[in-house]
Amino acid sequence: MWRSTRRTALDSDADLRAAYAAHGAELYRFALRSLGDAGLAEEAVQDTFVRAWRAANRHDPRLGSLRTWLFAICKNAIIDLHRARSVRPSVAGQEEAVRGESADPTNPIEDRLAAWQIEEALKRIGDAQRHAIVETYYKERSYKELAAELGVPEGTLRSRVFYGMKALRRKLEEMGWNP
């Protein structure tokens, strides 16, 4: 592979360490949630940075953040590992069984990725917005009741839901989500 001489985000060891420090953990969680296997998740993270280093000259900061780019690479690495695993005994299935969860053979890797992405996005938005969404959507509490509990107008709670959803979209897009 011939690399251009253009400065890239991963040229130096410092760049690489900075990138890992900023995104390594969430990439690992992304891989772990998607693959259900810690070893494969580590492998996915390593593959992600190696692939990123190889293709660093193709990353254009003007088109997207390094984070978004790394997640896109990680997603491909996860899919590749998932496919490779599919021809071997399901490690993720064994792990989930240990945890009392059943491996859903019908759950394709894309659904797993989507689930992790939205969960990761929810964790990344503001607490007030996340709380408003979790309580109203997942726990199906009424706006009136929750607003009263929080001591805010109902309109303010609805606004938190709306802006929380807009924030989720931005976070999802940062993780390579493409609706």
């Binding site: 592979m1 011939w2 690399r3 991963l10 060891d13 690489l16 360490r17 890992y20 420090a21 390594g24 953990a25 690992y28 969680r29 772990l32 949630r33 810690a38 580590e42 993270v45 390593q46 940075f49 190696v50 280093w53 190889r54 659904d111 989507a114 689930a115 992405q117 939205i118 969960e119 929810l122 964790k123 996340r130 969404i133 979790v134 109203t136 959507y137 997942y138 726990k139 706006y143 309109g155 303010t156 609805r158 606004s159 839901v161 709306f162 802006y163 929380g164 959803m165 807009k166 989720l168 979209r169 999802l172 989500w177 609706p179």
Partner: protein, 610 residues
Amino acid sequence: MNLGGHRLPVEKLGAYALGHLVDDERAELEAHLEDCPACRAELENILPVAALLPKADPYRLEEPLVGPPPGLDQWVYERVEQERRREARRRPSGIGWFAAAAIVLVVFALATFFLTEERGKQVSLRPVSERTELSAALQDLEATATLNGERYSTQIELEARELTPGQTYAVWIERADGTRASAGGFQAYDEGPITVYLSAALPPDEAVGLGVGTPEGETGLRADLQGGDDGDLIVPDLRGRTLEDAIEAAGPDFEVDARGDDGGRPGETVVDQDPGLGDRARKGTTVSVTLGSDRQASEDPDRTNSGSSETESPEAESVSYGPDSGLDAETATDAAPASSTSPASGPGRPELSAVGAWEIGAGEASVASTGIPPGADGNAGEDAGSPDGLAPIVASLGTESGPGPSSPGTALTPGTASGGALLPEPLPEAAPLPGDLFPSVPPLVPPAPPPGALLEEEGQQLVLPTLPEAPVAPEVPAVLDLLQEPVRDALPDPLGDAVSPARPDLLRDAVPTPDGLLGDGDLTKGIPGVGDGGKNDRPGIDALPTRGVPAIGGGGKGKQDRLGVDLPTRGVPAIGGGGKGKQDRLGVDLPTKGVPAIGGGGPNLPGLPR
């Protein structure tokens, strides 16, 4: 939010996307959305998120964020470092570029060396005398060759440059005794360089020299294939020349001495010489020549290579065959006007010894081939039985074909270029061709026999010449009888029709019969020579070396060979050559592999249909 003059109901858009609005609110919002593009855009932005929310497990949100295992960062750094080193090995540095280039060159050189070694022996041909002493066409000629041996032949890949456009060059292999085995020749369309592929019917272990010259016999370049006598020159062929011409041809390298003669009487030409053609001799050697008349030479089997012309060749017997059982020469000539083009042959060009041509029909396919006969010396006795000792064939067919003598308009005239004599002359090796035998293609059509010359033996019937010099061996007639039908079958239809079953002897006799070898591949299997056959050779006039052996009337690689005039051979167009043997047809074959050729048979010919 106040946008566009109205208060955007953003607090309701989120709840609406999640399905949390009651009916009245939903209806009110939907009514607003119909009139508000801004609100519709906001809604469309969050709807995909709302669709994604069901996929999340809300209980996982309560889990603490899991961090990567300790050491994963080091693994990542190590993996990247490994990749970095691997790439460094793949990507040459500045010096590495030179090293890589050097490696490529070395590999290329080695490959070239070994490939070359496998390809055969490479030789450079050098002038046999001072350049200025050579004829114009040879003065600048340069050539190299690669020779590959096969069991019975030597394949020659000749690269030549500084050619004279329009000039025909002859190529031959020399034997240890000085005789030559013709490898055919080629005609230059431009100055070259060109590469021609030729073949000589001589095993490589018998080849001592490779020569290139003119069809007139002049040697221009020569390469010694066995070494040791580089200082020697090839003795030029002086036969057929007047003493004056012989002295001129000998040039400064050789002295010419007429044995006990004062210069010869008018009309006398050299009928013998010592040292002979193809011999090597030191510069300054005296060549003793014997002068004699043409008839004298023709009567002497050992002197059959004397010059003969249309008017001076008493042995030029012809046969015509056609209508009213009395096709005469005139008919033949009329039917095949092109055949009146006579390959020049005269006292000055006694070397002419082989021309083969068929002309089919007036105004239609006119095809011809010529070949450089193998051998030009006078060792008739020795060569008569040699595969190289081929007799020339000249045959022309008239227009209207018909079976047998009752078929009007067809003439088959085998004979020599000098007038239709078909002689199994033990032609000398590599007898040169006259330059004007090779006009632009389509070339040669043999001359029609002179009127009156056709019927002299048997009156009403066309007769092939008697072949006193090379009588058919006793066992041959039986073979010929067996071959009569195959010969007919091998002929293209018009020709086949033309050659009546009643007169198969015409074909039979048309086959040169030195050494009694006729037509059948069985007789000559593995032996390049007369009538040798290759795969699908037909007995008959496709007499000749086949497999890789170019020769007069030969038959390419043996595939679909047809009546004789198709020629060499292995991918090599050459004089009288015949392409690669595929679909060879009677007649003119044009250059195949970038090399102009004269007279072979090959595809695309308007020759006889099968």
